[in-house]
Structure formats: structure tokens, C-alpha cells
Symmetry: C2
Subunit: 301 residues, 2 copies
Amino acid sequence: MEFDLIALIKSKTTIDSSVQVGIGDDAAVINNSQNTQLVVSTDTLVEGVHFDQRATARQIGHKSLAVNLSDLAAMAAQPKWVTLNISLPTIDMEWIELFITGFLQLADKHQVNLVGGDTTTGPLSITVTVFGEVEKNQYLLRSGAKRNDLIAVTGEIGSAAYALKHPNTALDIFLHVPEPQLKISQQIKTFAHSCIDISDGLMADLGHICSQSKLSAKISLQQIPVNPLIKNHDPLWSELVLAGGDDYQLCFTFSADDLDKLPAGCTVIGQMGCGLGVKVFSNNQQMDFKQKGFVHFNNIN
Amino acid sequence: MEFDLIALIKSKTTIDSSVQVGIGDDAAVINNSQNTQLVVSTDTLVEGVHFDQRATARQIGHKSLAVNLSDLAAMAAQPKWVTLNISLPTIDMEWIELFITGFLQLADKHQVNLVGGDTTTGPLSITVTVFGEVEKNQYLLRSGAKRNDLIAVTGEIGSAAYALKHPNTALDIFLHVPEPQLKISQQIKTFAHSCIDISDGLMADLGHICSQSKLSAKISLQQIPVNPLIKNHDPLWSELVLAGGDDYQLCFTFSADDLDKLPAGCTVIGQMGCGLGVKVFSNNQQMDFKQKGFVHFNNIN
């Protein structure tokens, strides 16, 4: 049951000088930078739960890293290193090579070094642990929102949920090949007060900012950036936009005084206030919206 | 499908001041020490492959952390932080609480902070990623063995394999509740030249030291410390000792000049030489031993 995964990985990626000992010993040894803090996030993707049979091996490789990089983007951290654990029912070299290709292409794009991992027999499941750095105390939390902060999002919202519901459209790419918003997170980190990535749905994730900041949020449905395809083809588009998960865009808050700093690709959708919970207004009327996003099992970080 | 795992974890462990942001945001923020290097290892345990139905939830919790701490012991690193990913078919609160209890008791014993993780629905599978520190360049590798080094092991070898083959004996504990050899690894780090933990079997793991150090090893079967139960009750005891996995003892090499530094609980079993491969001698005769240890799927670090 052995194959030379290490050789395959080494042929497909380069490791920078921060990695003193990489894959091949009992553990990796890493030179972290001075005066930084370490930022760590981990996610498990299981077949049938986090990706379906339509997803290609290469897409699964990309997405399993992307969702973790997205967590580091939400913290405004620079990802630098990653470990990869794969459980596979059988050794399918073609599948593995495509998976690793998708994974490492995204890793190389963001200069993330694959430093270790583990492969085992078992039902298809992928765990990725990504770690990066921030300059001391230069990170964003869910809990930092201030009263009267403006609320903004990156990109368009609801595309992944649309693709899940309506396969084989131009929006498929947002479901299967999400792009972590690392560049924008570096642009907003100096002035944003709080940030989260939208993995469980806009209302659910903005709800986390509210509960952890002990504030409420008031957003306008019409201000949320949405791909026209969604509005034109799904009468229930507002549910996809408000409750759909898997977008991996960022939702963040900042002072209105800093509005001129908002980068291109970001859209103001509302404002933080007193109280608790997320209130959505459509044409000046508050929506009565029960479903608060896809409830995953439980993500403890 | 939600339950308050975070509250359960927080009730059962304490987090030290190195953890600036723990469980509950998109990622953890950690204050690593100055002038150290980061050491990272990760392992996945799958039901039916790495533990069987006889193992209790508490034992599985212990073992899933222990095997990772053992990798850090092999590097002579001090473990400090850990992330935990669990896939579970259904939410069984009793199982989870026992699992977490076993996991956190071992974590607390070694002052390891649980800083993040993920829980998902899926076939039972556990991935643990452990982070530790070494003072700059003060780590041990598989590749550091020198010609004429003595070879030593900690503890007794073959007990876990015996317990797997012969359930319900006094040796069960070595299979289900292995103790990572962190204390001894700190004692040997100043004089050992190479080190590995015995997870795949003595011959296989010593074989890694040989291949990565470009040397051979000559060991004496009679010198290997073995529990008397094994020799007395299994005619094939030498196979369990040489090829059995899961002991999580350390195998290391060092100069004969440093023999007086060898801590209690360590036993010299042989010597490194030129050439390649592991040669086993029994009563002055070289054994012809084909099976080179349990071949797991492939552990890439």
C-alpha cells in the first residue's frame, strides 16, 4: 500500500528557506520570523458533506487548501506553511496526482510551503492545517466590531450556493474553485475592526461578528453584490445570498471615516448598531428571515 | 447537528498565556518564543486501521494525541499547541466527552494547549496536528547517525504488537494508551545524533535511520528489551519485537563516548556501520528476516 507521494510532491512544488526540515522526518522544522505571532487554522473536508461527486480531484485539492487560506485571510494573516492529511479508500494514482496538482498550484500562488502530512486508508477525507504569521497584534477578530461601523463584503455573495442548486452554469467555479481573499485582507487590515470569512452564509457569519462584538447588524438586501445570473434565474435568490454558504468572501467592519480606504472589489452593505442579531432590510422593510445559513456540524475555530 | 464542543473543551482544560486567541475565531493566534524554531507534525487515525472496536473513546482520545507527541519526542521538541479534527458518523455526546477527556488529560500532562480544530459528520476519523518548539538547531533527525554510533531504544519493544495479537492481557495498555517519550527525548537531545519513534516496527524505523543516514545497523535480538510475557507466550515473539508497530518508544544513536549519559530506561541494542540496511543477529548468527514491519499506507512526515 505504498507509493512515493513525497517524490510526487517534491516534483511539483518548491520550498522556501523558512523550511529547515520539510517532509520526510518525524516532524518539520520551521524558521518563523522574529516579532511575529503564529496563526493556525484547520478544516476537514469529507466527501458528500463538503464536496460532491461532481467535483474533480483537482478542484478538491484546490478547495481543501482554499477554505483554510480563507480562514487566515479572515484574520489578516499571511499563510506560510501547510500540512495535508488524506484518507483514501484505495490508491488511485491518477486521482492523487490531480488532487496534489490542484492543491500545490494554489499553495505556490500564495507562497505556502507544504511541510508535512499523513496518508491513510479510509473513506475519502481531507484535513488541512495552515499556519501563517502576523506582525505582533496586527490581526483581525470577529469580536472587534464597533458601534456605527460600516459593514462590507468582498466579491459577490451567493454564487456558490447557486452553483450547488443549479449545476453546470458559469457560477460552478465559485463552488468548486473558491479564491481565498488574501490580497484584500492585507489591504484592509490597517483599518478594519473585525472580519470573518463567509463559509456558513452571510447572515450566519455576520451573526458571529454581532454576537462576538455584542452588537447588531443592519444590512440592505439591495446593496449586497450578487451575480445577475442568480437574480434572473432563481426566484428564491435572496435565500441563496443571505443563507448560502461556501462563498469564502470576507465580511468586515470599519469606521465610516475610513471609507476612502475601501479597496476596489469591496461593497458596503450595512452598518453595526446596538442590540444583537442581523436585521435585513429590503426596500426599506425589515425581512422576516428564519433560515440563518447552512448549519455545519460545528467548526470549533 | 450542533453541540457545544467549545464549552466542553473549555471546562476540561486550561490554556496558558502563549495562546493569545484560542478556539472560537477563524484561527488561533499564538505567541511563540524568541530564538526558537517551530516543529510541526500531524497524524490521522482511522477506525479499523489505527484503532479497533476494543479501544474505548477515552483511549482513542489519548492515543490520537500520543502518537503525535511521540513524533515531537523523536525530534527532541517541546510540544506546546495542538489542533484536533474529528469526523463522527453521529453525535454521541457520551463518546465525545470521554474522547475529549482522554485527549485533554494527556495534553495537560505535557502542558499542550488545544488551540483549534474542526468537527464534521463522516466515518470516524481523527486528525491531530501538534506544534512545538526547539531552541535554534537543537533538534534530532533520522539522518544524523554516525558510523560506529551505538543504537539504543527506550522502554520495551513489541508490547503493542503482542496486545494486538493477544487481547486482554496486562500489555493492552501499551497498545491503547501509549506514553510519548518526551522526558527521555529531552535527556538525550544534547548527545544523541539521530532519533526516530517506533511506530512502524523496530526494523522498519531503524531502517529509516539507516537509509537517511546512509549507514547500516547491526542489532542483537537478545539485547532488545522485551516484556517476559511476550517471550514466554508467543513462539513468534521475535517477529512481534522486530516488526511490530505502535510501540511509540524511541530508537536513537549516539557516540560510545557518551555511554555514561544514557538515561535509565534506555537499552543499547546495536551499532551503526558502513553499508545499508538493518542486520539482526541472534546468538551470533544473522537472522534471515523478510518482514520489515507493518507497512502503513504512507506517512509523509
